[in-house]
């Protein structure tokens, strides 16, 4: 299965998933979930805390298409109203080319079963955060791959081998988890529209869980090659209570002939 790149595909996926959904752990009452008097998850209850006192971000989350800047494109829609992604001329040129002549679908890594990186692989399919002391995992339903975020005090590698998900370390600032990442390769785009980045990209993510059912991630992107200054997009996520990820592997052998890059 490919990442939905058009409405037909999206509909097909939605119908397909809906058809098979009853046979999974799709409806499983999870212990530790606060409930209202009628037994339903209480999504406005206080956010849970881990045994070490920090907020516990664990749960299955899905981004919510609630746009602060609806006239923007892609990630721009999650920026303050009226703002633009501060692209450099190099980024403008790349962006215009990749979206202007139909190349984007062929170049999008997920069309070849490869991950979309950060943050694009977190959108819009479900992610599962598993928080343990010293390590937070993000499990992606899409392609069933994972990202590790270390909270054991280690520093980012100095000269990392570039990777699809980069290298991530995090610390807590009161009730906000601050994730710093670097070491990304240049294969991915920041969003589904094709916003480019270089290997110099650094991302700061600030995770807040204002209540049981909601997560807000503030992404700040710094990449002088493609952006004139750091810029920020704030994306809300909703908890998917009492359910589980569905195994979703991608097999592109059959479609390989039509997937030509450049």
């Amino acid at each position: 299965m490919m990442k939905p790149s058009n409405l037909v595909t999206s509909l097909f996926l939605a119908l397909g998933l809906a058809f098979t959904a009853h046979a999974q752990w799709i409806s499983v009452p999870l212990p530790g979930t606060p409930r209202t008097s009628d037994g339903k998850p209480n999504l406005s209850a206080p956010a849970p805390r881990a045994s070490d006192g920090h907020l516990d971000l664990s749960g299955i989350w899905k981004s919510r298409p609630e746009y602060t800047n609806p006239k923007g494109r892609g990630l721009e829609r999650f920026m303050p109203a009226g703002s633009r992604v501060p692209m450099t001329p190099a980024a403008e040129k790349f962006y215009a080319e990749i979206t202007g002549n139909g190349r984007y679908d062929a170049a999008d890594p997920s069309e070849r079963c490869l991950p979309d990186g950060v943050p694009n692989h977190m959108l819009p399919l479900p992610i599962k955060i598993v928080q343990t002391p010293g390590l937070i995992l993000t499990l992606f339903e899409e392609f069933y791959v994972f990202r590790q975020i270390f909270t054991d005090g280690r520093k980012l590698p100095v000269d990392p081998q570039p990777t699809w998900f980069g290298y991530s370390v995090a610390h807590w600032e009161k009730d906000t988890l601050v994730v710093e990442s670097s070491g990304f390769n240049e294969q991915t785009y920041l969003d589904g529209e094709g916003l480019p980045h270089s290997e110099a990209l650094r991302i700061t993510e600030r995770y807040r869980r204002p209540d049981f059912g909601h997560l807000v991630i503030e992404f700040t992107f710094t990449d002088p090659k493609y952006y004139q200054r750091p810029w920020t997009a704030i994306i809300p996520f909703d908890l998917m209570p009492d359910t589980e990820l569905i195994e979703h592997f991608c097999e592109n052998e059959k479609d390989l002939g039509s997937m030509i890059r450049k």
């Binding site: 999870l30 995992l137 791959v145 280690r154 592109n252």
Partner: protein, 280 residues
């Protein structure tokens, strides 16, 4: 892909220069240490406060400590793979039709799912020299596989299997601690995965039990029980497969791109080379 020595050698030669800048040497304060400040791999295994055994760590299958390492020549990179065996070394108790299929697939030289970027599942993920990582969380244990960046979830919250499981590559797994063992029961596997690196396939009726032990800090062992009346004449157990701890290091990112788009595979090649470095 894992059995093709030529490819592996090519990867090794192409990429040995990229090994130093990862989290391959990260001091782990939780490890017991010897007098000379090295990780004490012979120390008793770690436990949770309630006494359960803790399998956390990065683990590499250890052919030297496992009966059935493949003969010289069948390797992935520099390391021998492990050939699955029955506990007592007798042939797999295949039913006649299953045996005929197995022989035909062997004769044809069928390649396993990983050759097209699909996962090594259970038990074959433990037979290749690719590390795994156990992460215990409350109510769930995650098994990370370096190969292709895939993961398995093993639920320990007491849930039962779904009543009607959509067949899946990793199936549906629940776990429990029994004495010093962590026991994983799995159902609902699809028929795409192989049990061995040879084409030992199974039906959707397969029921797998994995029993993990950690006799000391540096050693992990697993023995699986295979129950598939559609393929085998009896329930059988595998040999005990051993892993060695890869201390103070971590998994490397290793994604699979079908080996057909050279401009995209550089990161993968780098990862593979670094895996090989870590072995030495």
């Amino acid at each position: 892909m894992t059995l093709r020595l030529g490819v592996a050698l090519w990867l090794l030669v192409a990429t040995t220069a990229t090994g130093s800048a990862q989290w391959l040497n990260h001091r782990d304060p939780s490890l017991p240490r010897t007098a000379d400040d090295q990780p004490d791999l012979q120390a008793p295994p770690p436990r949770f406060a309630d006494g359960r055994i803790d399998l956390s760590g990065v683990w590499m299958p250890d052919p030297k400590a496992t009966p059935g390492a493949a003969p010289v020549g069948q390797t992935s990179g520099e390391d021998p793979v492990i050939r699955l065996r029955t506990e007592d070394g007798t042939p797999f108790p295949l039913l006649p039709a299953a045996e005929a299929e197995y022989k035909e697939r062997m004769r044809r030289g069928d390649h396993g799912p990983s050759s097209r970027c699909m996962p090594h599942t259970i038990v074959d993920a433990y037979l290749v020299p690719e590390p795994i990582k156990f992460v215990h969380a409350a109510r769930v244990t995650i098994l990370l596989q370096e190969e292709y960046q895939h993961f398995r979830q093993i639920f320990t919250d007491g849930r039962a299997f779904p009543p009607d499981m959509q067949p899946a590559w990793y199936g549906y797994s629940v776990g429990r601690w029994e004495g010093d063992e962590f026991v994983i029961e799995t159902r609902g596997l699809n028929t795409q995965g192989w049990l061995d690196l040879t084409p030992l396939t199974h039906t959707e009726s397969l029921q797998l039990t994995e029993r993990f032990r950690r006799p000391n800090v540096g050693t992990l062992q697993v023995q699986a029980t295979v129950n598939d009346p559609g393929k085998f004449s009896r329930v059988w157990r595998t040999q005990t497969i051993s892993f060695r701890l890869v201390p103070e290091a971590d998994l490397l990112e290793y994604l699979c791109d079908n080996n057909r788009m050279p401009e995209l595979t550089a990161p993968n090649r780098g990862s593979q080379a670094r895996v090989m470095q870590r072995h030495s």
